[in-house]
Symmetry: C2
């Protein structure tokens, strides 16, 4: 037993959340309890951040016309993506890629403005701000799964148009449309595997020792 280790049940909770978290696109319309939403946002806020930058911002969408406008933006990008996929266009169009109009809560996660003042850990790696916000989003995802709620991260959008829609400053950037809510059931595997879009690569092919090895 390692000093500082959690109890067996707590450890199991962490691994279970990691294993059973899914990128959800199917939701039931039940509202999300506001106390749980607060806990999830607090979980996001406890994420690591490069040089204590805390670059995450969350815009909660409560107006139905704005939700609809976000859905329309995503749908346009969905069509553009389908075209860009060439021979897989039809196959892609059959996939459900988002649950924006169905989910109980819709959040837009953004990188904050005025990020150029943060140099610690970013002089050569400015994109570490995105890494921090991604960790914050993963915290929400895992805590939501433990609470029995599903989440989907939608990145099918033109960031400039989403900026305009939500009056996001030019030097900030939306990176995720987060669909959060109750679900009938969680996919037993990632939906893109269930639907035959792709196969999982084995972990063994992703671990190398001391230098890059071409597999």
């Amino acid at each position: 037993m390692i000093k500082h280790a959690f109890s067996d049940n707590e450890i199991q909770g962490v691994y279970r959340a990691i294993a059973e978290r899914r990128d959800m696109r199917h939701f039931t319309p039940d509202p999300v309890d506001q106390a749980i939403l607060s806990k999830l946002l607090s979980a996001a806020h406890q994420a690591p951040s490069v040089g204590l930058m805390q670059p995450w911002r969350f815009i909660r969408i409560t107006q139905s016309d704005i939700r609809k406008a976000i859905h329309d933006l995503v749908n346009e990008e969905r069509l553009m993506t389908a075209k860009a996929l060439g021979e897989r266009e039809d196959e892609f169009m059959r996939l459900k890629v988002e649950g924006i109009m169905q989910c109980g809560e819709l959040l837009v996660a953004t990188l904050c403005d005025q990020r150029e003042q943060y140099i610690f850990g970013r002089r050569t790696m400015p994109e570490m701000d995105l890494a921090s916000v991604s960790c914050a989003i993963q915290n929400i995802w895992l805590a939501a799964r433990a609470e029995g709620l599903g989440m989907g991260w939608v990145s099918l959008f033109d960031p400039d148009r989403l900026k305009k829609l939500l009056s996001i400053p030019q030097d900030a950037k939306p990176i995720a449309i987060l669909c959060l809510g109750h679900v009938e059931k969680f996919y037993s595997q990632p939906m893109l595997i269930e639907q035959g879009w792709g196969e999982e690569k084995p972990l063994s092919s992703m671990i190398m020792e001391n230098a890059w090895q071409t597999s």
Copy 2:
């Protein structure tokens, strides 16, 4: 009680890992159990990934001369960062920013090569590959905390020089030097707060409704 919710102890484990995870720079030299390392890498591999891309690769550093070379690279960037920080140079130089030579396990996390073939969720947002790898790293971080192990994410390096050192292909990219290992104690707050480098901003200032609001 929400359908699909975990048990209270499991839920507590998830929130506890999120709350007590720290970016660690102080380690004891005890080795990391290989069975636990495997569990942590499996946790990484269960992360969400844009369009099922699974863009994470991990290079485990077991040769001490390579570990030392990585440390030297980081130390060079530490000096460059200190200079770039101007009036905070001395203050920055007093901070311990990494535990590369002390930690039980050293991993380099990279974005994979040949990423341009992945279009799903990346046509307008190509940086979603970094988001996926960041979620994978957060999985390791949280699972490690539950197991009683600490981790630090070091981004103080020149990615091109680290590529060269580890023979990483030009179209792949190292994004994190991960120091993993046993710790005497976890910081009770983020180390940069404990050391007075910065203060935490309140969550309330990061939540907006329906549009960006200037605080």
